[in-house]
């Protein structure tokens, strides 16, 4: 009995010592890739940094919502872009179940809201104030919506509550959910040539800013409780009677097992922090300059050595 305890104590001691001085495991670090450019390039940037340090990195294409379950299970090691608005719910759900944790914020703010490309403003000069929307509703009308305006919201699974907001603020719009981000782009793209006014859901940082300059609609500013307490916001009887937070977080998430298995890589991950312009630049390399993500990542690393060298652990080149 005694020996057993001794042995386990020794094992424990050994375990902790190896952990603290351990080198990173040679198992591959799995970085998830989704289907928008900034995230892909950022993942490759981080991947290349980790490779530089001698880690073994693998990329896996996944759905951007389903990924949290995979991080939680350790199938995927980290997630580099956790958007407060779009993925906050999935992230929090996984957090509650356990298995992953918050690995720090980027030095970037995200914003997601009703948006229009600049040409729209020509037809509806009252924008960006939301109060102009009702007067301009006819500009956004289609055969299907009749005299109401059409607002194309993000996919349902992004939980954007566009319908509720339109009702709460009494604006004369039909809110339709696009099925995917791509559907949003197609909607804008179709309007581009004739400069037809369109109103869609959009977010920043995003490649679309570079392709189609535009602005967010300014709704009553977000206040805490706007989504849970009807009293908050201009309409005392309704939820969602305000805009989305204008500065949402952009986080990194990591699998709970990462700090033990790849301590050096984990340290780098916690230090990593990109800014809005940096993220926009990454997206631009792919979306505007037609580079492949790997090349874009290499290019970005070359141009921004000063930024990322500092994240590397001391002693590594």
């Amino acid at each position: 009995m005694k020996t057993k305890i001794l042995m386990s104590a020794a094992a424990l001691a050994l375990g902790t010592t190896t952990a603290s001085f351990a080198e990173d495991s040679s198992d591959p670090i799995v970085i998830p890739i989704h289907n928008w450019s900034s995230q892909i390039v950022m993942s490759h940037v981080v991947g290349q940094i980790l490779e530089e340090m001698g880690s073994n990195v693998e990329f896996v294409t996944t759905d951007s919502q389903a990924v949290y379950e995979s991080v939680r299970l350790g199938d995927v090691t980290m997630e580099l872009e956790v958007w407060e608005g779009a993925f906050g719910a999935s992230f929090r759900a996984a957090l509650e179940k356990g298995g992953l944790h918050d690995a720090g914020d980027h030095n970037a703010v995200t914003r997601e809201d009703w948006w229009y490309p600049m040409w729209t403003k020509d037809a509806c000069p009252g924008l960006p104030s939301w109060e102009a929307l009702n007067d301009c509703a006819h500009l956004f009308a289609t055969a299907e919506t009749g005299d109401k305006g059409l607002f194309l919201d993000g996919p349902v699974d992004w939980l954007k509550h566009g319908k509720e907001r339109a009702e709460a603020l009494g604006i004369n719009y039909v809110v339709k959910n696009a099925g995917s981000a791509a559907a949003l782009w197609a909607h804008i793209g179709a309007a581009e040539a004739d400069r037809t006014p369109v109103l869609v859901f959009n977010w920043t940082p995003n490649f679309a800013e570079a392709v189609w300059p535009g602005e967010f609609v300014e709704f009553p500013a977000w206040e805490d409780g706007c989504d849970s307490d009807p009293a908050v916001g201009p309409n005392p009887d309704a939820l969602y009677d305000c805009g989305n937070p204008a500065s949402g977080y952009l986080k990194k998430a990591a699998w709970d097992g990462m700090p033990d298995k790849w301590p050096d890589a984990y340290e780098v991950l916690t230090k990593i922090s990109f800014t809005n312009p940096q993220i926009a630049e990454m997206a631009k390399l792919v979306d505007i300059d037609w580079m492949e993500p790997e090349e874009a990542a290499a290019e970005w690393l070359e141009n921004n050595e000063a930024v990322w060298k500092g994240w590397l652990p001391e002693g590594s080149s």
Binding site: N35, S37, T61, T62, L73, A93, A143, D157, G179, H187
Partner: protein, 657 residues
């Protein structure tokens, strides 16, 4: 129709089929007319009556995962043998950092070997197709992602083949197994792919492993069916000859049955390959690397040109593998004279190996044969992008499509949809039952009643009706296109082949790619949804119309000619009636395709089951996911049972066996 049902008559106490049909339909109509006076529970099933099916399923899955530790077993398989296999192919083809650390092979070697195989199977044309596909892939700079895709398919397809073969043998051997597996296969073939993406992730780990498993599951059913069919078709004399030669049971199976069923088994292989390729894009949601993921990324940054190029690559690979495997089915062994040396006997193997080695060596010196760099690639993505967007923005195009779109949405689709939604649930079910009874007879009608009642009690009735509305609208529309096209094409061999090639292309071209142009033309609306389904469903209608018409025995058309029929008379009174059972198969397939596509159309934006299914991808709502999938499957199966039963009866009636 009435005579088709004569065999059913005695079953139901003297009432004729027509009368029963009228009675059921009559009740349904009465219910509709009485709608304003009906109690609420006869219009829609009240929330309170709906059993918490999703919760039960969740409990069941929890039990499987937590208590039975089933996930441990599947995880072991995924992380052990499966990951090893995937690593092996991925290393060889695209150079993934896995054992045996020797890949990737230069693209030129793959192209050369593909050309040799093509030549062996189908002469110069096939060699050109095989070699050309891979040369194209390399030159447009998609080599690596294409190989990522193929490295998973290279594991998934053999897995589907092996499992399908074994299950097929078991189903042939034991009647009870056959009866048990048939409904499971039917469900697998109709259940939306979203439903098994999530379990694949949970049980088999996100990434190529889950991708391989989901692909395998999707591709298995036809392999099982073809194997069973092939084994059942082995001529009795061959079986007796085998027995009289003193074969044991095992020898009978391996040396008599399976080789004799070669043709059907190879047709199964062809189907496996095609279904695997159909999953390339969809499995990208759960970690399938390569072309699919890239395509989705391109679409999400609105690069139509590059998506188009990727689509072309997928079509080329699909057509190549399809043609090669079909040529393999038709390829019969040729004899060599005695004393032929082995290198002549295995001429093609020798050439293939030689070509492989040759290019392997040459590629060491000429870099471009090894890898085509981004800067060297001939991708025209940007230009194609401009061309597509330019075309979509031409005023005349926009005006035309705008007009068609507005007309359809305002006067056809929305009224139809509202009408369907207006019908009280029991009346709707009765109408479906009446229709299935009229067409298929008693058995399908009973199933229809059960299936639609289950759907009604699943709590997703309205969404199911909207799903059905899109499916029906699309299939009706595509009948207007597909059948005339098929009739036209069937008139000459030349046109038949041309149109069939278009069909092949349309079927393998990833539907995601035309979603975006469709949205640009018709907006995020039901028209876009319906039209993108139509593109997909017109294919089988056209194909089977051609096949049905061309399959009409020559004597019958000659008899019609000799009776002095005009072309039109011949078509209407001889060819079409005889082709109808075959066309029904096409119609059935069109409906199945529509149920498949309507779920993909969720990416445009719908309010149906597909939208909810897409939503479940985000979380771990396994139970809800399955309930939704089940609804789609049950509705699809109702159609399947009814139409197939009708076609079967019709065939018997016409004496077409």
């Amino acid at each position: 129709m009435a005579d088709a049902a004569t065999d059913l008559k005695p079953a139901v106490s003297g009432l004729s089929t027509t009368r029963i049909f009228q009675i059921i339909l009559g009740i349904a109509v009465l219910l509709c007319l009485a709608k304003p006076f009906l109690p609420e529970f006869l219009i829609r099933i009240p929330e309170a009556w709906i059993p918490p099916l999703a919760n039960w399923l969740d409990t069941f899955f929890d039990f499987l995962i937590e208590d039975l530790k089933l996930a441990k077993l599947t995880r072991w398989f995924a992380e052990g043998p499966l990951d090893f296999m995937l690593g092996l192919t991925a290393n060889l083809l695209e150079g993934k950092h896995r054992w045996p650390f020797i890949g990737p092979v230069p693209w030129a070697t793959v192209a050369a070997v593909a050309a040799v195989i093509g030549y062996y199977l189908g002469g110069w044309r096939m060699a050109l197709l095989g070699g050309g596909t891979f040369v194209w892939t390399a030159l447009v700079g998609q080599w690596k992602i294409a190989m990522q895709t193929l490295s998973v398919l290279a594991v998934a397809a053999p897995m589907a083949f092996t499992l399908g073969l074994l299950l097929g043998i078991a189903a042939w051997k034991w009647g009870w197994f056959d009866r048990a597996i048939k409904p499971i296969l039917a469900i697998l073939q109709t259940i939306p792919f979203f439903t098994y993406l999530l379990p694949a992730v949970i049980f088999f780990k996100v990434g190529p492993t889950a991708g391989a498993i989901a692909t395998t599951i999707y591709a298995i059913p036809p392999m099982v069916l073809m194997t069973t069919l092939g084994l059942k078709r082995v001529s009795p004399e061959i079986i007796e000859a085998g027995k009289m030669c003193g074969s044991t049971r095992f020898q009978m199976l391996t040396r008599v049955y399976i080789p004799s069923a070669r043709t059907e088994i190879l047709v199964g292989v062809n189907q496996v390959i095609m279904l695997c390729l159909a999953m390339v894009v969809l499995t990208a949601f759960i970690g399938m690397p390569g072309l699919g993921g890239k395509l989705l990324a391109m679409m999400n940054s609105f690069k139509l040109g590059r998506s188009f190029e990727i689509g072309v690559t997928i079509v080329l690979i699909a057509v190549t593998l399809d043609r090669m495997s079909k040529a393999w089915v038709a390829k019969l062994p040729e004899h060599f004279e005695r004393g032929t040396p082995w290198w002549v006997r295995h001429k093609y193997l020798v050439i293939a190996v030689a070509a492989f080695v040759f290019f392997l060596i040459v590629a060491q010196f000429i870099g471009i044969l090894d890898t085509v760099g981004r800067k060297q690639s001939l991708s025209q993505g940007k230009e194609i992008d401009r061309a597509i967007k330019g075309f979509l923005n031409i005023g005349a195009v926009k005006a035309t499509t705008g007009f068609i779109g507005d007309f359809l949405i305002v006067y056809v689709l929305i009224p139809f949809r509202n009408a369907l939604l207006w019908i009280p649930t029991p009346a709707f079910i009765l109408m479906v039952v009446a229709g299935t009874y009229w067409l298929g007879g008693k058995r399908p009608a009973i199933f229809a009643a059960i299936f639609f009642t289950v759907v009604a009690f699943s709590g997703w009735w309205d969404r199911s009706v909207i799903t059905l509305y899109a499916v029906i609208s699309a299939v009706i529309l595509s009948m207007f296109i597909g059948i005339p096209l098929g009739i036209f094409a069937a008139r000459s061999e030349k046109w038949a082949n041309r149109i069939l090639l278009v069909c092949d292309t349309a079927q393998t071209f990833p539907s995601f790619i035309y979603l975006l142009p469709a949205i640009m033309l018709f907006g995020v609306s039901d028209v876009t949804v319906v039209l993108s389904i139509v593109i997909f469903t017109t294919v089988p209608l056209t194909r089977y119309t051609i096949e049905g018409l061309r399959g009409v025995p020559g004597e019958m058309t000659e008899a019609a000619d000799m009776s002095g029929s005009t072309r039109r008379q011949k078509l209407v009174s001889v060819q079409l009636p005889l082709a109808l059972p075959t066309m029904a198969v096409g119609f059935n397939q069109a409906i199945m395709f529509a149920f498949f596509m309507v779920i993909i159309a969720a990416f445009i934006g719908t309010q149906d089951l597909g939208q909810e299914l897409q939503r479940t991808l985000a979380g771990t709502d396994l139970g809800k996911n399955f309930v939704l999938g089940m609804n789609v499957s049950l509705m699809a199966l109702t159609f399947d049972l009814t139409i197939m039963s009708w076609a079967e009866k019709r065939k018997k009636l016409l004496g077409l066996g």
